[in-house]
Chain length 328, copies 4
């Protein structure tokens, strides 16, 4: 282990995601395990600039493994985008005797970390935390599995009312520009059709599919729409469009919204968070920097931050095919 790292700072940045608390806990306890200190930085880079930093020992993170959100909070920081802001941030870290930084967040936060490292040579390690699962270098991001469960449970409830009234529901889910949540939760919820940005379904194909459903005896239908879908209409416009073209359908819309961001993390996310936290701290102690810890083939691995922020995680064509077959 590197002798030079004696105190690691940890922050959460970008959109919050379930599992971030479990990751903070893992970083804190791994530091304690290795006999080094850990400091929590509040409100992401903004708090780093302001010096809103506090010591965190193992007892400070008790009982948070199962909590959604992040006890360190998160905030946007316009200051950090300017060199003066980053200089202040660096000075805060130095003033607190922090040697290295763990950033739990998405690619936006990693970009900030990369720039910071370039300017000050400060060791940084990234842990991918976002429900969108759209970061290159990791098969799963923290919060994604939990969000999938939140979405299928919500759609299960919507299905009850759709079935009772023989209705068609358009359900919009999060994902930014990626269709992972829509595709997986769509399969999990038995959706008729799934609209994701990566596949250009087209309105004609959608109408055709819905007509076929009615014909084959299906009385209720769910169409899951990713928020980044590029079909050209939002869910409300899709509702109108379908009601005009297929008048036998009674259509409703549900935008699941921010319930997808919160909630107690699933066991998978808690374990993943714990594993990633250990790897992040131990990589820093080994003298490594500018990596994102991630998981692939169930092995915890490192990906250079440049690749993590540039690349995109691809949609599995096999999954798209499975979703089509399941709609039979």
């Amino acid at each position: 282990m590197s002798a030079s790292i004696k105190r690691i700072g940890v922050l959460t940045s970008g959109g919050d995601a379930p599992g971030m608390n479990a990751a903070i806990r893992s970083v804190v306890r791994t530091c304690a395990f290795h006999g080094i200190e850990c400091m929590g930085i509040y409100r992401g880079f903004e708090g780093m600039i302001e010096g809103d930093i506090t010591e965190m020992g193992p007892r400070a993170v008790k009982n948070i493994v199962n909590k959604g959100g992040t006890i360190l909070k998160s905030a946007r920081s316009k200051e950090f985008m300017k060199p003066e802001g980053r200089l202040k941030a660096f000075q805060s870290l130095k003033k607190n005797g922090i040697d290295a930084l763990v950033i739990i967040g998405g690619d936006g936060s990693f970009t900030g970390g990369m720039v910071f490292n370039k300017e000050f040579g400060f060791p940084v390690m990234g842990i991918p935390g976002t429900i969108d699962n759209d970061i290159f270098g990791t098969k799963y991001t923290l919060g994604y599995d939990t969000a999938l469960n939140t979405v299928v449970e919500a759609i299960d409830k919507i299905r009850d009312t759709a079935n009772s009234h023989n209705r068609l529901f358009f359900v919009e889910v999060m994902g930014r520009d990626a269709g992972h949540i829509a595709l997986n939760a769509g399969i999990g919820a038995g959706a008729e059709e799934i609209l994701i940005p990566e596949e250009n379904l087209g309105l004609d194909r959608l109408l055709e599919s819905l007509q076929k459903s009615k014909a084959s005896g299906k009385s209720s239908s769910i169409v899951v729409v990713s928020e980044g879908d590029k079909i050209g209409k939002n869910v409300f416009e899709l509702k109108d469009y379908v009601e005009e073209n297929l008048p036998e359908y009674e259509v409703r819309v549900s935008v699941l919204g921010h319930i997808q961001r919160g909630g107690s993390p699933s066991c998978f996310d808690r374990v993943l968070a714990s594993r990633l936290g250990v790897k992040a701290v131990e990589s820093l102690l080994e003298g490594k920097t500018n990596f994102m810890v991630g998981i692939d083939c169930d092995v915890i691995q490192l990906t250079p931050l440049e690749q993590a922020v540039k690349g995109k995680s691809k949609i599995d064509e096999e999954l798209v095919r499975v979703s089509d077959i399941m709609s039979t």
Copy 2:
């Protein structure tokens, strides 16, 4: 028990609500218990007109006590609003040998039942099924308790993300013109402010309340808005209004939507449904008609349908006061 009732028909009408299936099960099994037959009528009054009716014995309702939605489905019926439609409906019932009718639904469905009874002298009994809890004559309607739990669980998740980002969330909940869901779930979720139709809060009072919250150290806030609220702006307009007038607040909106209508019923709703079903069937067997079974002071009671459809269930002022004190 009345010797003339030998076969009872049961239907679900209006918006679906969790607990309807448990009520259907209760009606079916109470009939069997008393040695009379039961027939399920699909899709409310529409199915009654079409004769979409089937025998239902105790095994037909196994394993539905915990299911949301309604296995008998529900549908609007324009036909039933016309005398010709209702005549066809009456003939369907006669053709199937049905002597009496149990209607599980809201006041709209009860009105239909009352008219039907007036025209044909056909015995009808109502079971209040709606998440809005706005029917006079019963302290709780089927589905209300479940919806309250669905709402607080959803707001708990939103709270996670509100806390992480120090944000204000406007959360719109169902209730038609009543504020029961908003008021109770608002208290349960620790909402800062609750906007219900029965109380005219006013925009100034809302801004004042939010300013006070910030000043007292609260970093995140939830404002629960009933869909029937008369403050003059919908949730999206409220968001804009607050962001203009209180720029230090970052505001988001969440419309919970149809998840509130579905889901596995709570224990309370399952037990209530079972008790109401027994009372409905046994009241018909006693020769009673034109009543709604309901609960008050934990006693199952009967309310004449005319009163049930006219009156409104009042908001508890004590609860409004409690919600104010809790926002301290």
Copy 3:
């Protein structure tokens, strides 16, 4: 309002129950609302003796309305049963300037409070917190509704596996000497048979009932057994007994255990806790003492502590009858 009460102490005692935290929050915020101070006493009467007491303002109870357990903890106190112990406790309260006491717990805790009041004339008010719902003077105790939901959800899961394998499950639930949980959750879960202390079912009747079930076509069965049931055998012995006498049944046992005590409180429990907390504080401010706040006919009311600890809450015979009819 009484001018003499300026600082109220609050503690949780006895078995924990979901909703206790919401009650603590309500007491703290009602005190703040009335401009008086509140102090939290840790670990029940034991902490009171040790002076483990801290100030609690509105921000100290943020985000606990939806948490199970109790942030003030609970503990048995042998010391408090002795006059010397109670004297020390009284001195702790005096030393901290506490004028009145709110005790959140069960009848054991109320008894302690009554004795304390008799010895020192110290104003006490009780809030009923226990999942057993067996306290006279209140239709519902805090935690009961949540426990009912926990139990039916657990039995729903057991039902899945019972149905898959055509098995009979004996499920033991909590309740001390009362059958409320067993009876209500039994109805909610569609149990074949429910064994409660208040009704002496008898082994013959149980076998007969199970035989009838098989004959009528039921492939799986759940029998809910209250922990205080007096049938003479525990659940494991019942399993053996049934397997010997009805060899066609494959039997399993599940003791739900302590999951029944925890978990996020239901909306009902959160609202009840909030209402009871307000009433408790305001009753003390009105100069009242030695009462338990409770709910009946949806009205918050006061019951003298002597009655609350002596009386028992009766089983509703109507509910027993409903459970029989539902097993048809």
Copy 4:
């Protein structure tokens, strides 16, 4: 695609697991997608012998993707272990025109399938369904992820009461002879110590660990014990042992039991089930036989049944190490 397979039979066997219904649905719909027929065989090999077989089209499996248990039921079959039994089974399949068989179950069921194939040259394909996750050739078995979530949610509730009373809880979880559930759910629930069959912890080490916990300030503790653990004492004996040796600890036991087998499958299990079902049917159509479909590195793959039944899935040492670090 093979021209000879025109009708595929599907059955569920062994212990039920969440996701089995989603897998049945996937097999049925994949058959329909490829224009071939599908028949459901009830109660595993026992129903196959009895000819309890029925046609299953796409509408027969609607709304089961989110249901726990198995609509085809499962049963042990002593008959099938004898050649005469298997001959009858073969004749049932022939009589129903079934060309190939999909077996959803555990290694016991696969062994039965292998023998059957050896005797009659009948094409069989296995889908791993068991919560224990102990089958070689697949990183995840159907039902495992759901069971992990069920366990951490149960332990979260137990944690509430453990924290309230400063108690130590021994929680026994399923897993047969494998420690996967205990290890992963133990990490997810923040357990102090995890006892699994694969690691010989020893009683001294357990006591030492518990003493260290108390010393470091932890007030409540959870020890997760796998049902197959070989420490020499069952959970009740462990409780007594700890109470004798560490009298400052108040200990309770919870055996989670059969709730672990049921419940609505997680999104992960629903998607995995759908993917495995497609692969199973399409592999049979390609003329393959005697394989188990599984997942590794997120790729659906085939493992020869002999390997699947012989090998064991190993515990990840990295996870064991992470669990130790998290207990700091």
